[in-house]
């Protein structure tokens, strides 16, 4: 089972990351110049042209309401309390919609798109990489490799633009924006499901194409080193079928270091996915973030950023807990 010291160390790391994230999230807007509420109000006045209210007075009232004029430590304490109650404040642009409800609406879209595409990219890339590193793999695959590597050099969101143009504008095959048809009323019916799936093909494709090259390249490196191991030679000498050796002896062992790579890659994938959502107007967290940045909606920005950091930290924590179960050698080794 999992050694206790490892468990404690990993859990304390998780707590530390969350602590740093919440603190940085709290500190940054307060230590940078400018009062966000006043700036936001002034922008709105500038856009609408009327000047019946004095933004300074409203800002002061707002700050009093939300306790922004109390000492910093008190604010910090109330911030933590409200975070733990799931209260991220209200949106300035869509007053008075609570930030938490906006995030809750957008989260399933992002989770669905990201999880599925990331897993597909990981599996496809690993399989391709494994085949590339295996000497007895079909030759034709080697031709595919440089093309995919070349494509993966381009960042996800730029790939997205190209895909939209080719499949949506030029060939008019797939929808190039939004998560579902504006005229469609979403419900638990077949038409909705098909609609959502159709709209998710291009965004998913951008993430998959952008990520496959990276996984394939690193898997290929693993496979080459695994190939030289004695147990492969032994399995071959035993007369096992080549495909069996490839999957159960080769891939299985080469896959383990790949899973640790997942940890570092997850941050990059999420960042890329956020931008893909923006390009596609896909109603996920990325799109929400983009609009919040445009409208200087500070509380929404903070809420989303915090959500992203915490969910990735938790995901990595789970991966780190599962990994010793996949590779029993870790439990015996001291980190």
């Amino acid at each position: 089972m999992l050694p206790l010291s490892y468990l404690i160390k990993r859990t304390s790391q998780l707590v530390l990351v969350i602590f740093i994230a919440v603190t940085v999230n709290f500190m940054l807007p307060r230590f940078l110049p400018g009062n966000p509420v006043e700036i936001s109000l002034q922008q709105k006045i500038a856009i609408s042209g009327t000047y019946t209210v004095n933004p300074a007075i409203i800002a002061k009232q707002y700050m009093g309401e939300f306790g922004l004029n109390k000492p910093v430590l008190v604010q910090y304490y109330t911030y933590w309390k409200s975070i733990l109650h799931g209260n991220f404040g209200v949106s300035l642009a869509n007053y008075p919609t609570p930030v938490a409800s906006m995030i809750k609406a957008a989260l399933p879209w992002t989770l669905g798109l990201l999880l599925v595409s990331a897993i597909i990219a990981f599996l496809l890339g690993s399989l391709l990489g494994g085949l590339l590193g295996w000497p007895r793999a079909p030759r034709a695959l080697r031709l595919l490799a440089p093309g995919l590597m070349g494509v993966s050099v381009i960042p996800y969101y730029l790939l997205a633009i190209i895909l939209i143009f080719v499949f949506s504008t030029h060939w008019q095959l797939l929808p190039g924006s939004q998560g579902y048809d504006p005229t469609q009323m979403l419900g638990f019916n077949w038409a909705s499901v098909v609609d959502i799936l159709r709209h998710s093909i291009l965004p998913g494709l951008s993430i998959v194409l952008g990520g496959v090259g990276f996984w394939a390249l690193s898997m290929r490196g693993m496979m080459i080193s695994v190939q030289g191991e004695d147990y492969i030679t032994f399995a071959d000498a035993k007369g096992l079928h080549p495909r069996r050796i490839f999957f159960w002896y080769g891939m299985r062992n080469a896959l383990l270091p790949q899973v640790t790579q997942l940890a570092v890659a997850l941050g990059v994938v999420v960042s890329g996915a956020v931008l893909v959502e923006v390009i596609f107007n896909y109603p996920g967290l990325g799109y929400l973030l983009f609009n919040a940045v445009e409208g200087k909606d500070y509380f929404v920005i903070q809420g989303i950023v915090l959500m992203l950091i915490v969910s990735i930290a938790v995901a990595l924590y789970i991966v780190d807990l599962i990994y010793p179960l996949l590779d029993p050698r870790i439990s015996y080794r001291r980190k």
């Binding site: 080697r142 931008l275 992203l308």
Partner: protein, 290 residues
């Protein structure tokens, strides 16, 4: 030195066994990009990159080689103008990242102890945080963004990987024979660090630098595409942002966003090749298999 001598030196370096194909290809590509970015602005009329210079939404023609965008700017002009700021941001981010990474990695790896533990935990924790999250928060709170500022913002999250790489190398190097000999000769620890360990780290520093520049440009373009980039000069990322804003993709104005994407792809391809080549230079035991 005569021309003949210089050419012979170049030929000698080019034919040395360490100068692999990725390194050459990457260097050539990067050279092309650099020439475009540094010489290009002098060849193209910079006035054409301003709003309203030409009629808007023109397709490529002999008058406008890359056409114009919805604001009447010549695409060729602002793409050529925007390449160098993009590279600059990457260089600043990479430079600062390597600077911090070198300092922290050397000290943590060589002297170990509490400092090493702190650096390690900090770097590992920050690595798990999605870059875009922190960068968006910082960039959204900055009123006036400049090239240097954007470079610094990106550099905040660029130091972790170089620190880890250099620290790992220093950890293995401090046990080597020549370090023992230097210590036995009475050299102080600081001297050993700078005279023995540092010079052998140079290939790793170079490889990490290229990696950091690449990651920096990626993050910078990401921020710019969200609209958090430079407020004054155009860059490749802000070109993408404006193209999105004016629906150039759905509107079919491919000449607006294709040149920036192509140049970005070439930049990343060259950085990738350079980093692969430098990796092999630093670690000759990584054999190549087609």
């Amino acid at each position: 030195m005569s021309i003949h001598g210089v050419l012979r030196e170049i030929s000698r370096v080019a034919h040395s066994p360490r100068m692999t194909r990725p390194l050459i290809a990457g260097s050539v590509l990067m050279l092309c990009v650099l020439m475009l970015s540094l010489i290009g602005p002098h060849l193209v009329n910079q006035q054409l990159a301003l709003v309203g210079a030409r009629a808007p939404d023109l397709a490529p023609s002999s008058a406008n080689w890359f056409g114009t965008d919805s604001l009447g700017r010549s695409v060729l002009a602002f793409v050529v103008d925007g390449t160098w700021p993009t590279l600059q941001i990457g260089l600043i981010a990479g430079g600062v990242g390597i600077g911090i990474g070198l300092l922290l990695g050397l000290l943590a790896g060589y002297f170990r102890g509490v400092f090493d533990a702190t650096v390690r935990v900090l770097a590992d924790s920050l690595l798990t945080i999605p870059q875009i999250a922190i960068l968006v928060i910082i960039a959204a709170n900055v009123q006036q963004m400049t090239v240097n500022l954007l470079g610094l913002v990106v550099a905040i999250l660029a130091w972790m990987v170089p620190t880890r790489t250099i620290r790992a190398q220093v950890l293995s190097m401090r046990e080597r024979g020549y370090v023992e000999v230097a210590r036995a000769n009475g050299q102080r620890e600081i001297e050993v660090l700078f005279r023995e360990v540092l010079p052998n780290l140079i290939p790793y520093i170079a490889a990490s630098f290229v990696g950091a520049v690449s990651a920096g440009i990626l993050a910078a373009i990401g921020l710019e595409a969200l609209g958090l980039g430079l407020s004054s000069a155009p860059t490749l990322g802000t070109a993408i942002y404006w193209a999105e804003k004016y629906s150039a993709v759905l509107g079919g104005e491919w000449w607006w966003w294709t040149p920036p994407i192509v140049i970005i792809a070439v930049i990343f391809l060259s950085l990738f090749l350079l980093s692969a080549g430098l990796d092999r230079l630093a670690n000759p035991r990584i054999g190549s298999r087609a």
